[in-house]
Structure formats: structure tokens, C-alpha cells
Symmetry: C2
């Protein structure tokens, strides 16, 4: 695998966000857990900080799906990839959707440490 | 293929509706179109009445995904299968979700005749 650079991390523009892709991204329990954790905390988080019960490659895949749907932003900081929820973009494009989904989400326990 | 009977059409109970399954069901553009049409009209609709740009078997598949996720009810009337949105069940389980998704859905043009 080649090293990731900031340039290789593509994000869709706000106006290109698609409802179907966002709903699909949110339809997986692990991805929903990631989004809930990002929503309930400020700032950036690395993939490893979520304490998810999945392998690293599965975790990477989930973050990729979320990024490509426009749910979160990823940026490279040294060897880590930092993740931030695109809350304002989602709210602008699909008003109330993120909030409604998070309210409907089960549990909301912290995902690990 | 065997004939479908009313007994063979299973629907999840309200308390068994899962957010992930509902979001997945709504994440497909054709299924979203079906749900929008059901939401904006009263009563039952047959699969054929939606004028969807898909084959009959694809149409049948989409309705099955929607039914199994708990988004709609299907009942057999003679040789036709009538579809009704489970609006109250969805609202009870995931308040505001259906409304928010439909508001965010593109177009909302009538799907055919």
C-alpha cells in the first residue's frame, strides 16, 4: 500500500451530497456508532480512538464509506488520519436528517475508551 | 414459483423495527420514490401503479426490502399485492425520520401515471 497524502483524500462538495449515499452510510451499526461518537464530541478523532469491535481494515473501510458519502472529513496528520463530522454541510443539504437519525439511534453508549 | 398467500407475507412488529434496516431500505433512489409516492397519497397501491423504470422482478425485490424493513405493509388482494406505508409505526419508533427523509428527497415528481 502506498502512503496516504492529504491530496489523496477526496471529499464530495456540499452540493454533490446525495441522500441515498448518506442514508446508506448511516445504515450500518458500526458507522452509526462512529457518527454518534463524532457528533457527541468536539474536534478530530483518529480511527483507533473509537475502540470499535472490528479489524483495522474494516474500520478503514467504514471511514472511507462515511467520507465518500460526505458524512465526515478526513485529514492526514503525520501517520494518523483525523476524522471530523461534516455536521454543517449535512444540515445545510439535508436539514434535520443527522439530528433525527442520531436521536433514533440505539444506545448511544460510548464506543470503547 | 408458488402462489403468494396472505399468510406468507411477513411484517416485523413495531418494536422490532431496526434503524439500520430502515435507513438501508430508504437509501435506494427507486425505493425512496416508492415511499414518497405512498406518503403523498392515501390508501393502497399495487406495485404496477408506480410506473417505475425497473423490471417487475426488480420492483418486487424493492417492495420486499421495504416490507422486511418495516417501511410498508403488503397484503394480497386477488392476484394483486397492495402496499401501504407504515407511517404511524415508523413515526412511533423513529420520530421525525420519515418526514425528514422525504423532505430531503430529490424531486418528488410523481413516479409515472
Amino acid at each position: 500500500m502506498s502512503m496516504h497524502t492529504t491530496e489523496s483524500i477526496a471529499h464530495p462538495a456540499v452540493e454533490d451530497l446525495e441522500l441515498g449515499a448518506v442514508l446508506h452510510a448511516l445504515s450500518d451499526p458500526v458507522r452509526l456508532q462512529i457518527v454518534a461518537k463524532l457528533a457527541h464530541s468536539d474536534g478530530d478523532h483518529t480511527c483507533g480512538s473509537f475502540g470499535l469491535p472490528v479489524t483495522k481494515s474494516t474500520c478503514t473501510h467504514h471511514f472511507k464509506v462515511l467520507r465518500e458519502a460526505g458524512v465526515l472529513t478526513q485529514r492526514q496528520v503525520g501517520t494518523a488520519r483525523m476524522n471530523t463530522l461534516r455536521r454543517e454541510d449535512l444540515d445545510a443539504r439535508f436539514p434535520g436528517l443527522l439530528e433525527t437519525v442520531l436521536r433514533a439511534a440505539p444506545g448511544d453508549q460510548p464506543a470503547g475508551s
